[in-house]
């Protein structure tokens, strides 16, 4: 993945977030404050604008611009959380080409950032319940020598499983935590938006443009 690939992928992600705006908001209506889709769509619309206006020399620069734009435009918890994720990732992606092991290292740093920002861990019904299994899956694939495409196809399945898993657990972080046991049976909206991003990456590697 070079800088142009990273821009193209970020545009696909923005497109998918916009297309799933209602669905994400619907998930957040069930257990949150009904703004996840609206907030992320506002944020990624601003990202699209930024990507068209500015010029970038490395994949990390694209992620950094995405991070700063999300932080200043999203307006909900997903702003500082995705902002921190992409910002920490950008710090690890200084080279012109991203390899699968590079991406794993960056995602690991991003996840650490999200955990610190949200004072959260796995199993609390947050985006971490997708991001952590995705990282584990990608690391395993990298070790097994799989191609980036095959690795992301597997990771997309792990992401989907992560979403389904959040139906079985009680939220202990964020707005959904006020629902206690009543949060059972619902997918965490942040998990679903993370899942959409991983799926977009898998599809991009599979040739979607």
């Amino acid at each position: 993945m070079n800088v142009n690939d990273t821009i193209a992928l970020m545009k696909l992600i923005a497109q998918d977030i916009e297309a799933n705006k209602e669905y994400l908001t619907q998930l957040d209506t069930a257990i949150g404050d009904a703004d996840h889709g609206i907030n992320l769509s506002r944020g990624f619309a601003a990202v699209l604008k930024k990507l068209d206006e500015a010029s970038f020399s490395a994949p990390g620069d694209v992620l950094k611009a995405t991070a700063m734009t999300l932080i200043s435009t999203v307006g909900g918890a997903s702003g500082p959380l995705y902002g921190t994720l992409f910002l920490k990732m950008s710090g690890e992606l200084k080279a012109d080409e991203i390899t699968l092991p590079d991406f794993c290292g960056a995602l690991e740093a991003g996840i650490q950032g999200v955990m610190a920002r949200g004072r959260s861990a796995k199993g609390e019904k947050t985006m971490l319940d997708v991001l952590i299994p995705v990282l584990d899956s990608l690391k395993e694939s990298a070790q097994a020598g799989l191609s980036a495409k095959d690795a992301f196809d597997k990771a997309a399945l792990a992401a989907q499983e992560g979403c389904e898993y959040t139906k079985t657990i009680i939220a202990t972080k964020g707005r959904a935590s006020y629902l206690g046991e009543r949060s059972l049976g619902h997918i965490d909206p942040g998990c679903m938006s993370s899942c959409l991003m991983i799926k977009a990456a898998a599809e991009f590697l599979g040739g979607r443009r």
């Binding site: 703004d35 907030n39 932080i71 307006g75 909900g76 702003g79 500082p80 902002g83 920002r117 707005r175």
Partner: protein
């Protein structure tokens, strides 16, 4: 004087608390940031950052907030500050309304950062 910042998802909440504080502790350095940048409920990074930079005082700054993203946005702004500036800020988990009144009264009588912090510490809750 210690500065006080109130952050809420709702502009009406912080404006309402400000009205209450004006009755009891008028003239303290008080800064509020409510709502998102689209005029709705949520958090506005620029507004919160602006309040934090305006509130910055060598005597210290207390931040009170309501929920998740109010805190996380302020925390993001703190991460961008240098250590010297950052060390002037205290984020408290005291309830927003009660904490604001307790802090404002202490500040209006000239309490230092440690004293205000100690008062708020006793009021902390799960957030």
């Amino acid at each position: 004087m210690v500065s006080l910042i109130l952050i809420s998802h709702s502009p009406k909440i912080v404006e309402g608390i400000k009205d209450m504080l004006d009755e009891m502790a008028k003239g303290i350095p008080l800064f509020v940031a409510g709502g998102n940048n689209a005029g709705g409920l949520g958090s506005d990074y620029e507004l919160i950052k602006d309040a934090m930079h305006k509130a910055h005082s060598p005597d210290g700054v207390i931040i009170l907030f309501d929920l998740g993203s109010s805190f996380m946005t302020a925390d993001t702004v703190l991460d961008e500050m240098d250590d010297a500036m950052k060390s002037n800020f205290v984020v408290s988990r005291a309830p927003l309304v009660e904490g604001a009144i307790a802090a404002a009264i202490e500040i209006s009588f000239g309490a230092n950062l440690e004293d205000v912090q100690a008062t708020l510490k006793e009021m902390e809750m799960m957030k």
